[in-house]
Subunit: 457 residues, 2 copies
Amino acid sequence: MANEKIPYKIYLEESEMPKAWYNIKADMKKKPAPLLNPATGKPMTAEELSAVFCDELVAQELDEENAYIEIPEEIRDFYKMYRPAPLVRAYCLEKKLGTPAKIYYKFEGNNTSGSHKLNSAIAQAYYAKKQGLKGVTTETGAGQWGTALSMACSYFDLDCKVFMVKCSYEQKPFRREVMRTYGASVTPSPSTETEVGKKILKEHPGTSGSLGCAISEAVETAVSNDGYRYVLGSVLSQVLLHQSVIGLETKTALDKYGIKPDIIIGCAGGGSNLGGLIAPFMGEKLRGEADYRIIAVEPASCPSLTRGVYAYDFCDTGMVCPLSKMYTLGSDFIPSANHAGGLRYHGMSSVLSELYDQGLMEATSVKQTEVFEAAEYFARIEGILPAPESSHAIRVAIDEALKCKQTGEEKTIVFGLTGTGYFDMVAYEKFHDGIMEDYIPTDEELEIYRKKLPKIG
Amino acid sequence: MANEKIPYKIYLEESEMPKAWYNIKADMKKKPAPLLNPATGKPMTAEELSAVFCDELVAQELDEENAYIEIPEEIRDFYKMYRPAPLVRAYCLEKKLGTPAKIYYKFEGNNTSGSHKLNSAIAQAYYAKKQGLKGVTTETGAGQWGTALSMACSYFDLDCKVFMVKCSYEQKPFRREVMRTYGASVTPSPSTETEVGKKILKEHPGTSGSLGCAISEAVETAVSNDGYRYVLGSVLSQVLLHQSVIGLETKTALDKYGIKPDIIIGCAGGGSNLGGLIAPFMGEKLRGEADYRIIAVEPASCPSLTRGVYAYDFCDTGMVCPLSKMYTLGSDFIPSANHAGGLRYHGMSSVLSELYDQGLMEATSVKQTEVFEAAEYFARIEGILPAPESSHAIRVAIDEALKCKQTGEEKTIVFGLTGTGYFDMVAYEKFHDGIMEDYIPTDEELEIYRKKLPKIG
């Protein structure tokens, strides 16, 4: 089909949807460093992990051998309700920019969770149900993950307890209400429902919360209640595994039309979207079959890849989770409250951290006012009002397309449009009113948190 | 493809998308009654109408001859950004209900306006641009139409002035912010910006506004400003014409798999979605080629078809618009403020009114608590959180499917899922908190407004 006119939206047939997830660790010669038990300093065993996580998910977390892991039929059926996600050719954006570049985006926002998060939520809920659990606990920041998990738990009739970062809980009452529609219980974090929550409240009264803190509360709640486990929407290898469905669909759609991307761009908070989007392309790169420029885009206010250090750190503020080797700003780091939207996590997926450390991908950071400029521009041209997170990728995709305009190069750019911004209108309002501020931590600030990193590894 | 397994979502190819709209009036033996000039009592001429509406849209409004009207390429290109809309087989809903019925829904919510309204907005903006106008004015109730028009105007670089029913303006600040993202100006109605607004405010201080009142303000603003015209998101024949794209896509998708629906269900406020969805099916019915049960679902709080009278009435509260023969509750009728969402219009499309009067379709009304029960049930099973308006159709589709369960009939039900409820979480919250009330006007109340109907026709 190489010479066929490429449609505005490439939809795969149901029969072309992936039947297995792709596990990039199988193709990495140098594997990511293992999770460590903070008490012993030794790699976490499956048994230790299964106190916190579902058994099958623990197996996926530790799997470094199998490149493909079959997607159970029940999950594939659920995927069919909202997938395949369209790969969109941004004809209107290209025309408006006057660029010779060809721009594509994989749009993951056509479902009620509003983002790609549902891809992993349904998988994690499925394995929890299969294990006969009563329910799961989790944290949510911007709210996409909590919404996605609520939907997934409702589908499998599982109890769902969400700790929502307090500032989001207050700024986004409608997100909370969507979770409630799906039967989840939502608690602002830090809360007095957990020991770690009480401790954090005592040490930082008036705190607006953080992802790291909400994680600690969710983990504590899971391990202290029978029949519950903790689930996480990003960072972990299992999440990147499930999210590989994004990249696999993207690659199949591109291959169908004989398109080879030059640049692949994704926003990066904990790494769930970026890791999923790039998975099969990075796989080709690792196997020496093809080369691509891969760019992670993070907020200047929370720059773990571009300004963090590659070291073992806690995944959560309360230090109840295993240690992970990753690019990190320190588990106490919390971006300024004026930062809108997600991508507020202090660390980064260990898989992506290792790939970045090996020089297999680039990273860049952007300021949020530049991000919202790109978001509004994109909304007016391509119709979709994007999530602040996704708009980080839009910003850099536009910048790369404008470089092509200068050089005349006809590069093919693919970026991940992870979701919609319908629950982020408070942030858009600030932007329209001209009162949105940029926050960039100083080196001195970052140094404070860096000094507190655990001395391991 | 008749024996092929039907996918969860049927997406047409771009090449299968309609190239012409279908004008049902051409196939009606008895045509809808003409719009009348309230001053003379005579049919409105094209010249008279063109003071208010764009020339090309006036021609479409009056066209009773041409069954097909070509969709200009620019509009088809815009359609390709968010269409074709999927026709979804509700496998999960069928299974949960345990019904032998086969349920399909045409989902129009996969665009930032959140509804089908964009189909007509882009057409009306296109013709305004083509005529060299500076901008357009309109009203919006629940906000979908205003958002859709803002998006369309932004695409064609037209000025867009929206009068938003005051209670919606206050309840839905985020809808307003989306319109602002697309560069529209939004004024709560009634306002002091127009003579008619000032008059209504004087007569009804503290009013929460109505669609009829906002229409009057928008029309006044259009006719008193050079280079502006008024555009309307429902009721008019031109809108039903543009919305026929919904039904045409639905029919093509069904035909592709050899499916013949038994029942077609749509919610009805002014009639834009229902008229569009049923158009080609009703066309077959009018030409004696096929038969279908067609059901209009309206709110019990605003029951124009089921409890109104078929008579000439004003389209707006301020009586500045032409008179239309339609099922109406009287142009002063305003549903109780406790009614959530749209479908608050006092009248009904003259085309649908005439078809209903000829016995070619049925109508039923449902209470809003029943509607939200259906909405939540549907959200949990099919994943999509529906708009309150769309949920009227869901309610009746579920009821019809449950009847099939009792009788064992394998009927095929198609309903219109017009949009998503992401900006309606205040209403969902009321429902969850158990404080949502039902409002059904008494016969005495309706009689008050009925007596005020103009004595014409």
